[in-house]
């Protein structure tokens, strides 16, 4: 399972500052296990955003947002609502936000921070990767992750090594910051580049012992491992 936690509501309001009409998209995979997603959180977010003077143009749950084909196929039914939206708030891990951004022309904004990948149940990523940096910036980068796609994990724009839109490390590899630039230009959001934080806080990149051992789906701790041990004791 990919462990993710909800971004604080204040941060969500900030990252939604420029967008009035918001579509909320939820992943039916890991966020359910983490209790950071699912229909209940979508309803909660809808209520919070409505109170914060946003109009929620629609909500949808899709099983496994990391599966781009599924995201594309399912969102086809939401085209009318998406046409009435300024942005999509994606309640998933970083892979789901990137996969959604790759399938639609609207800004895709992360509702969660991703901490750790454990087990991988249901995970079906394409080129989108999430390193669980714990401080998701995808709302500023057009849904393209600079942490995993830039060879240097840069967060302040392209380095001097970018060549014809490719990376200095490998000439077949896209320069992440070239992709981000093109995407932000298409979205009319080049100003986002100025909003990126200068410094990163790397503390969230390494996860706490508790998050490291999260196996809430398999219930290993409680049922599979603890039960036989308990039996043995008797």
């Amino acid at each position: 399972m990919i462990v993710n936690v909800a971004k604080p509501m204040e941060e969500l309001k900030n990252l939604l500052a420029d967008y009035r009409r918001v579509f909320i998209l939820g992943c039916g995979g890991c966020p359910l296990g983490c209790e950071t997603g699912g229909p209940a959180r979508l309803e909660e977010l809808k209520a919070e955003l409505t109170r914060a003077d946003r109009s929620v143009s629609g909500t949808q749950m899709i099983d496994f947002l990391c599966n781009k084909a599924l995201v594309g196929a399912q969102l086809r039914y939401q085209v009318p609502a998406l046409k009435n939206s300024d942005a999509v708030l994606v309640v998933s891990c970083g892979v789901g936000v990137q996969a959604t951004a790759a399938m639609i022309d609207l800004p895709s904004l992360p509702a969660n921070n991703t901490l750790n990948s454990q087990g991988m149940q249901g995970l079906w990523p394409s080129v989108e990767r999430c390193d669980g940096c714990g401080d998701c910036l995808l709302h500023l980068t057009g849904g393209i992750c600079p942490i995993t796609r830039c060879a240097k994990n840069l967060i302040n724009g392209q380095c001097g090594g970018t060549h014809d839109g490719k990376c200095e490390v490998e000439n077949t590899r896209d320069c992440a910051w070239h992709l981000i630039y093109e995407k932000l230009k298409a979205l009319g959001k080049l100003d986002n580049l100025k909003k990126l934080p200068k410094l990163r806080d790397y503390r969230n990149w390494d996860v706490s012992d508790r998050e490291r051992h999260t196996t809430r789906w398999a219930l290993e701790e409680d049922q599979l491992y603890q039960a036989p041990k308990a039996v043995g004791k008797q």
Partner: protein, 294 residues
């Protein structure tokens, strides 16, 4: 006090040179070349930091050596090999040893160099490094703690690639660098005055001194290499053809004449030159005098 800062703030045309430290502790040849060809000829001398990710003696050590030999160094710092603790500490060490100018660079990826298996750091990048320098000048470190003595006279610069295509991302980053504290720019090599003029027009609103980068094209093979491998650099046929036509003995003279003409074309558009001779230091005095910037 930085002479480079004084010159650029007074609007005086400034020429800087560059030294690539050797791999090892024998720096006699490098220092001799510097004494012979750069002293009195350029205002300040850049010292590269493990250039192209190839391990060499450090830019801090050589910068300090240059200070004691009567040069003004531009201490290049990349973010590839050191995290924020090491970089801040090195900045203070450099200041203590008389280093005032710093060029803040992101740095090449280790996979391009001679230790391709090295882990890269990039805790900071060029923008956050400039922010770090500005913070330290104000008497604080990145944690917000007070410094016991601030490196107040630091003069920070950055680099930019005017020939990048598209150039807009470069300009956007240049603006971020200025906001973060860059007070001068030294550019990647330029061979196309028209393209540079367009770039300088767009960069004009930043009102920041730009030293145009001059890399002497020594041979047609070097031109071909740069065109294929070096990001944002294009050597046009007007430079390659005369070099190809010249005999091997005549090549240095032809190359210097071509670069001098290029510099004359570029001079009205910029506030200085940054000459990267890459082993041809001995031709630098002649190049500067022919370009009319002595």
């Amino acid at each position: 006090m930085s002479k480079l800062k004084e010159a650029l703030e007074a609007g005086t045309f400034a020429v800087t040179g560059e030294l690539g430290p050797p791999k090892g502790v024998n720096i006699a040849a490098m220092m001799e070349e510097a004494e012979k060809y750069l002293k009195g000829c350029v205002l300040a001398v850049n010292v590269t930091d493990n250039q192209s990710s190839v391990m060499r003696i450090g830019s801090l050590g050589i910068s300090a050596k240059l200070v004691s030999a009567g040069f003004e160094p531009v201490y290049q710092i990349t973010c590839r090999d050191r995290n924020r603790l090491a970089i801040q500490s090195d900045i203070l060490s450099g200041y203590l040893l008389g280093v005032r100018n710093i060029l803040a660079l992101t740095g090449d990826h280790p996979s391009l160099g001679d230790h391709p298996g090295a882990r890269c750091v990039f805790d900071l990048d060029s923008v956050s490094l400039l922010h770090t320098i500005a913070t330290m000048k104000n008497g604080k470190d990145l944690s917000g703690a007070d410094l016991q003595g601030a490196p107040k006279e630091l003069f920070a610069g950055a680099s930019v690639t005017p020939g990048a295509d598209p150039v807009e991302p470069q300009l956007l980053k240049m603006e971020k660098k200025v906001e973060a504290g860059a007070r001068f720019f030294q550019t990647q090599a330029i061979y196309e005055p028209a393209k540079f003029e367009k770039f300088m027009k767009a960069a004009g609103k930043l009102k920041i001194p730009v030293l145009a980068g001059i890399v002497i094209v020594k041979s047609p093979a070097m031109a071909k290499y740069m065109n294929e491998k070096v990001a944002g650099v294009f050597v046009p046929d007007e430079i390659i053809k005369p070099l190809s036509a010249a005999s091997k003995e005549d090549r240095p003279k032809v190359a210097i004449d071509l670069m001098a003409k290029l510099m004359k074309d570029l001079k009205p558009m910029c506030q200085g030159f940054h000459i990267m001779a890459m082993g041809w230091e001995k031709y630098v005095p002649e190049l500067i005098s022919k370009a009319g910037t002595a």
